[in-house]
Subunit: 504 residues, 2 copies
């Protein structure tokens, strides 16, 4: 069999897997958009059956055989060609899939299903001890999985991190996160004691849900989300998923008396969605048509939500439209007041509601705790105490309940350990990307003031989206920005904006 034939087999095979995967993702999307109360258990059966079929196909011995044979072929020579990257990534994925014993995969699947149920109940009861045994099981299983997945000199935590941010390591994260923390803590203090403070009250006025829906959709379309190839729906926990090469679903939620929730939520998901819509469609389901990493994905959502969506340029364009959409709420508000209000910073308990500056401190806390759990330096039972200590230290506050503290996130109960750092990586990447884009598109702020988002989106398409998963995230960022991962760009961006607004 020629290498070309083998490659064609793999391409068709993984395109079939993508058909099953996207069918399963459709079932998940549908489960989050108004599933009938009693339909849940059967839906879980459908999804787990499809997942089983997918796993079978991904670990089919023919996949391994073709990949082994292709490794030495000319097609694999350039690992940054679409074919070479496909072979390299699929081989890595295959070996990873095969390294986990089936019994462990099943135990993890059971453990996290039960884990999420216990987490929900524990959160409702505000009782960590109700969740503790399930989390102990999950940590134990994830440590086992990590031991199977560990490659070379990887730590256990790094073996888990690899799934979400390939090529990343703990030393790098520790260094960057520690610099970030050292600069964010005083920045947040300075903001809190600044002479000017925003009036958050204007964001708590009445913004009718229907008007928010229309306005959010209109803004998502204005910045470049393609509604011919996607849609915007509502759900409890907003997310973005693609159910085909031309079927990107973003989900938001609206609160009548809290404008930023729905508005920035939609910008955030639209940022994710535009990344998906920019991936090479002819490689859908294969590495060149996939996203580079969760961190890169998050960089796209954060860039549009924060760096663009909270910028002065954006609001000078957007504010008249917002006022027309919400005449009652915004008639006596100036663009300056609005821009200041959406840039309010204050330490808070809940990660998903945190502002742009303190958000990263939430992540750093979770990273340090989950790393300690996986490496065996922290016991599950000591987690609530460790959580409170870090919150006092970094944010100066403590949660009155565990429900709003250590139990607030679903991630650990779902076995998503090693995932949190990608949120802050996204923030760091986004600032580095926008600094580079600014240099290459000197008119970008003027364009945005005029409601022209195409130049920036085009730049992101060319530099990030079109490359799919060809490059590792660190390589991709280095190629585009010329600088390694760091927190300077983000701190510069935040300082400039906040200094101007808070006036120190």
């Amino acid at each position: 069999m020629t290498p070309e034939k083998r490659f064609d087999f793999l391409r068709a095979w993984f395109q079939q897997i993508a058909l099953l995967q996207s069918a399963s993702d459709t079932l998940e999307w549908d489960a989050h958009t108004g599933l009938a109360a009693q339909a849940g258990p059967y839906r879980a059966d459908q999804i787990s059956f499809l997942r089983g079929l997918i796993h079978q196909r991904r670990t089919d011995p023919r996949v391994g055989e073709h990949l082994q044979e292709l490794q030495g072929s000319a097609l694999a020579a350039d690992v940054h060609s679409p074919e070479g990257a496909t072979i390299a990534h699929l081989l890595k994925d295959y070996q990873r899939d095969c390294r986990l014993p089936q019994s462990l995969v099943e135990a993890l699947s059971r453990g996290t299903t039960v884990g999420q149920q216990h987490w929900e109940a524990a959160r409702r009861a505000d009782s960590f001890s109700q969740f503790s045994p399930a989390l102990q099981t999950i940590v134990k299983l994830k440590r086992e999985a990590a031991a199977h997945l560990q490659q070379g000199r990887q730590t256990l935590y790094e073996a888990l991190l690899e799934e979400y941010e390939p090529g990343c390591n703990c030393e790098l994260l520790q260094n960057v996160f520690s610099q970030l923390q050292q600069q964010l803590v005083p920045l947040v203090q300075q903001i809190q004691s600044a002479p000017r403070q925003p009036d958050l009250g204007i964001l708590r006025r009445r913004f009718p849900i229907d008007a928010q829906r229309r306005f959010s959709r209109w803004v998502a379309e204005a910045i470049g989300f393609d509604f011919q190839r996607g849609r915007l729906d509502e759900t409890v926990h907003p997310f973005c998923t693609s159910l085909g090469p031309h079927d990107c679903r973003i989900l938001s939620r609206y609160e009548q008396h809290w404008f930023p929730g729905g508005f920035f939520g939609t910008l955030h998901e639209a940022g994710h969605g535009m990344y998906d819509q920019g991936l090479p469609t002819q490689w859908y389901g294969l590495p060149p048509g996939s996203f580079a990493s969760l961190g890169i994905h998050e960089s796209q959502s954060r860039l549009w939500e924060n760096l663009i969506g909270r910028s002065q340029a954006f609001w000078s364009w957007n504010f008249p439209h917002a006022r027309a959409a919400f005449p009652d709420a915004l008639t006596d508000v100036t663009v300056q007041q609005m821009h200041f209000a959406v840039n309010a910073v204050r330490p808070s308990l809940i990660r998903v509601e945190a502002d742009e500056a303190t958000y990263n401190l939430h992540i750093i806390i979770r990273f340090q705790l989950e790393q300690a759990l996986v490496e065996g330096d922290l016991q599950v039972d000591d987690l609530p105490t460790a959580w409170d200590e870090k919150f006092r230290q970094y944010l100066g506050i403590a949660a009155p309940t565990v429900a709003d503290g250590v139990l607030q996130d679903v991630h650990w109960s779902a076995g998503l350990i090693g995932y949190f750092p990608t949120y802050t990586l996204g923030n760091l990447y986004s600032a580095q990307l926008l600094e580079t884009a600014s240099a290459e598109l000197p008119q970008w702020e003027r364009s945005i003031s005029a409601g022209q988002f195409q130049p920036l989106l085009h730049w992101l398409r060319e530099n990030i989206h079109h490359h799919g998963r060809i490059w590792q995230p660190a390589e991709l960022m280095l190629r585009v920005t010329g600088t390694p991962l760091g927190c300077d760009a983000l701190i510069r961006s935040l300082c400039t904006r906040y200094q101007q607004l808070y006036g120190w």
Copy 2:
């Protein structure tokens, strides 16, 4: 292997098939509720891939082997026990699936995909000749399929009909349909020349879409559709589908200036939905948990839409609620006027918009034409002329365009030949069922005037829903009503209602 083991294998196997089938149905449902413009082709790929997996599993040789072995076992002895019916139906389905050569299945799949595209284009262009070649192919392939499927003394048409209404035959249909036509044609004429005529104008006032949505949902819930196990959405061509044992989806559509469209459409789909919700859930995906036939399914939708939904008892309960929901439109309308208006009868061109009396004439015409096509007594090219002749004869009108004439229905282009009669069978069954129910529940009209639908629904659950596909439709009807298929009950029901309203 013991018969019990074989049966357990089959049960688990078909439960797996149901997981795939319901996943595929979810993809279809989603395709009809706002799919992005460019997402269609990939969606078709997903569905056809799942269908392929389903077909493979349904025709797996192990299925045939286990069924053969089970045939003589004690489990199969009583064909009306859940196990016996399962074995009998699955064997019949399996043999049917195997009797069609794979090449013909694929040709039909291609032919109907192309057929629907040509039909859409031809309808837009109002040109039958644009559709004619595709329809010729479809008729040819369906004739071939019928020849493979024919059993015993079945005609070609009966072999196709069998898929939708098992055990039905042409002689029976011809007899009943001809009696029905002989009574409907003069009835419609009498109505047209009746002294009193309804004021349709009140139904064309402004009924705000949002209020219609809320009201339809409320009425669907009031008659017994369980929203804990289902939902109501909107689409272009309303339908009902079940995506799991507790996940029934009904779809409706609303027009601001045409109240009956959304209202009776919702009642109709809720009727279908309540049938699905009444099937034995523990047998989901197997014959005892499936519907008996399309005709029986339609009897449930028609019963709630027409026999209940257009009755005086129903409107005496419903009208005050309707007036509260649509104060502007209904403030000067009496319950009598409203009840009369929703019972308007007049010959019209479009089947899906036809009233309860003339609807069946539309079906009889299609039945006669498609039967002639399949039996070789009518050529595709002669179809438009034959269509117009029958419309003049039965309804006294002729379509000014083929788009509103012979091209109005999707069915033939989709290969659904032998399907139309089930609509009128549903009407006939529904009237026979309600006559029997009336005798057993003498208070039923009083209950309905009081908004109590539970007794009637309970009766339908006990007599129809809970039996799934255990009995053939004719057997089931005979068991419940004690009389064979006939049109007397329907004619009696229509005459009583219309005589009272139109006053002759």
